[in-house]
């Protein structure tokens, strides 16, 4: 189980666009690795080079001892892929999709029921793919990627366009994939997802990896302030601003928020003033790391 992945100096340009601009990383056997970044960061292109769908213009990829772009069946039988789109045969039922993909990998038919069970689609087995909901399609497409029990699994935005519940639901499936010792590489826009699932994440933007570490280490490294909020009217904004340890104050309709690097001192002071109504304390998350690195302005 598992496979080791090494990517070195990957480059892919489309005309003037340097879609991937010198990306290197290694993924250990059994690791859950995340590629995180805004739209157009180069996540999909990187993944496609690692899968062997695109040959890097420069740099190299190894999965164990294989070069994926050679598309050797021996390697492909060990790889499970879920592409960004939901790629299904038209007008087949969920069961038939799994049977068909299974046959492509020479898998015995019995695996289909097992996979339906694993992704919770037993009830939908005889529904056509076109009639499944977005979340069900995503789960089926993951099942199709796992039908041949691969050692390494590539997932491109597996939870895109899912409601929060369906997303959590899918996380459980993804964790179970990794628990059995498979190497998993996933791309996502969602920080909480990366934080919840990945052993290590690479934050990408404009074709480059900006940071690569465990989610916890990335958050720690940010040295980000803590946000303490209280209900509106609990504390006067001016008073908050003069409190020792306050970096910044935002007085909004929803409440007053104090940004600080010394939360203990602020909380003591608030308790002292009996101003703890509707208290909430938020530390930095991967999202802050992400925004800190990639900037806050909107990019299409």
């Amino acid at each position: 189980m598992g496979a080791e992945i090494t990517a070195e100096g990957l480059v892919m340009t489309y005309g003037d666009v340097r879609a991937v601009d010198g990306v290197s990383f290694t993924v250990a056997s059994g690791e859950f690795f995340g590629l995180l970044g805004p739209n157009g960061a180069g996540k999909t292109t990187t993944l496609e080079m690692v899968e062997g769908l695109r040959k890097p213009q420069s740099g190299s990829v190894r999965i164990d001892d294989f070069v994926p772009s050679r598309r050797e069946p021996e390697l492909q039988r060990r790889m499970g892929v879920q592409l960004q789109a939901s790629s299904f045969f038209e007008r087949l039922t969920a069961r038939e999709q799994l049977d068909t993909f299974g046959a492509l990998y020479g898998v015995a038919a019995g695996r289909t029921d097992e996979m339906l069970e694993q992704v919770g689609l037993v009830d939908k087995a005889d529904d056509r793919t076109e009639d499944l909901s977005g979340g069900q399609k995503q789960r089926l497409s993951i099942a199709c990627a796992l039908i041949h029990d691969p050692d390494v699994v590539f997932l491109d935005e597996p939870t895109a366009a899912l409601d929060p519940q369906a997303r959590r639901n899918l996380w459980d499936v993804l964790r179970s994939i990794n628990d059995s010792g498979r190497t998993v590489i996933l791309t996502t826009h969602y920080m909480d997802e990366a934080e919840a699932l990945c052993d290590r994440v690479a934050i990408m933007d404009a074709g480059k990896i900006l940071e690569l570490d465990t989610p916890a280490a990335l958050v720690r490294g940010l040295d980000a302030p803590v946000r303490i909020s209280v209900a509106p009217g609990t504390l006067d904004a001016e008073a908050a601003r003069t409190m020792a340890g306050t970096d910044d104050v935002a007085d909004e309709e929803s409440g007053l928020t104090i940004t600080t690097r010394d939360p203990a001192r602020i909380l003591t002071e608030l308790a002292h003033r009996d101003a703890l109504d509707g208290l909430s304390v938020k530390g930095a998350s991967l999202e802050d790391v992400f925004l800190d690195l990639t900037g806050r302005e909107y990019r299409a």
């Binding site: 299904f88 045969f89 038209e90 990998y105």
Partner: protein
């Protein structure tokens, strides 16, 4: 490997037969044309003369068996004893002629309303009486008439239209099937997905070919079945040659479809391009009407159209009674066309958008 090929082919076949629109346009729609042409135009070709026979008519009743069989082909004789009623029927156009015998005179009454019918009636009975006269003398007739038309019109309507409409049905089935299959699979990423599966590209192509040929075979079986059962289609000796003809034809149309699918950016565009090619091709290839009277440039253009050669080959072997050799040239041309167009398609082909 063979399981991969088989499962892909099965998936494609299911995809086709579950697509009600595709089945309609590949099978039902062309069959509607067959029914239309066979039903509407069929009558004018070989309708019989309806004759009311009053009492005994020895030239008919005592004629030798072969002559009677021959007469049965052209006459629909209805016996009656009421001469007045029979004449009324002829007058109203419900029958074409009344005949009865008075002594040695054969009396034929007909209506001049339909002049062609009137002439046919007179000619037919003139002939019957004369051959009866010769037979009475016991002489062998010296001169015999051998009548045989040379034009395509000699094929009754259904004989001509079944191969043509079948060719059109198969052309659109194979072209649309390949074009939409390619575009849909490219757009939804299935092509790339298959590229990452341990399946050689040729297995995917071969599966598509097998499915297209199978669909063509189903179309042909339905067409010929309906033609024979409902419209009196008669197949001539080397009709099994349509199997290699249809296979080669399907390959050509698939190539057109793959080219359309490779060029088109969307499924709608692919269908549009396929339509733009198939419908004019069907007209110019004589699928809907014979090209005998067509201007020279039409005939010249039709020479480069695969459907024209498929139609010719099928007409020759299915209904014109030519030998199996007549299919050879069309098959070679169709295969050549398939190779050239596939080569062009493979140059335009992309795995993804």
């Amino acid at each position: 490997m063979s399981t991969a090929f088989k499962s892909l082919a099965v998936a494609m076949l299911k995809g086709f037969f579950r697509d009600k629109m595709a089945v309609f346009f590949a099978v039902i729609f062309p069959l509607m044309f067959l029914a239309l042409f066979g039903g509407l135009l069929g009558g004018s070709g070989g309708s019989k003369i309806e004759v009311e026979q009053v009492g005994k008519v020895s030239v008919l009743d005592d004629a030798p068996k072969e002559v009677r069989a021959y007469l049965k082909e052209s006459l629909d004789i209805h016996r009656t004893s009421d001469e007045k009623a029979a004449i009324r029927k002829v007058r109203k156009g419900d029958a074409d002629a009344m005949i009865t015998q008075r002594g040695d005179t054969l009396v034929v009454r007909f209506s001049q309303a339909d002049q062609v019918k009137a002439a046919t009636v007179q000619g037919t009975f003139q002939g019957i009486v004369q051959s009866a006269n010769i037979a009475v003398t016991g002489q062998q007739p010296k001169y015999v008439l051998h009548a045989d038309q040379v034009e395509d019109d000699s094929l009754s309507t259904i004989q001509f239209f079944t191969p043509g409409l079948m060719g059109w049905a198969i052309a659109s089935g194979a072209t649309f099937g390949a074009a939409t299959n390619l575009v849909v699979w490219r757009k939804n990423g299935l092509l790339r997905r298959l590229r990452l599966a341990p399946v050689p590209t040729w297995a995917v192509v071969l599966a598509r070919i097998a499915v297209s040929v199978a669909i063509a075979a189903v179309q042909a079986a339905i067409f010929i079945g309906v033609g024979v059962a409902l419209f009196g289609l008669q197949l001539t000796g080397s009709w099994p040659m349509i199997v290699p003809l249809l296979t080669a034809g399907t390959l050509s149309f698939m190539a057109i479809g793959l080219l359309a699918g490779a060029v088109a950016k969307s499924e709608e565009a692919a269908v549009g391009i396929a339509n733009f090619v198939v419908l004019p091709m069907a007209f110019l290839s004589g699928s809907f009407f014979p090209l005998d009277g067509a201007p020279g440039w039409v005939t010249a253009v039709s020479e480069v159209l695969p459907l024209k050669h498929l139609n010719e080959g099928m007409l020759d072997t299915m209904v014109r009674g030519e030998g199996p050799g007549a299919a050879l040239m069309p098959i070679v041309i169709l295969l050549g066309f398939a190779v050239v167009v596939s080569a062009v398609a493979s140059r335009v082909f992309r795995w993804d958008d």
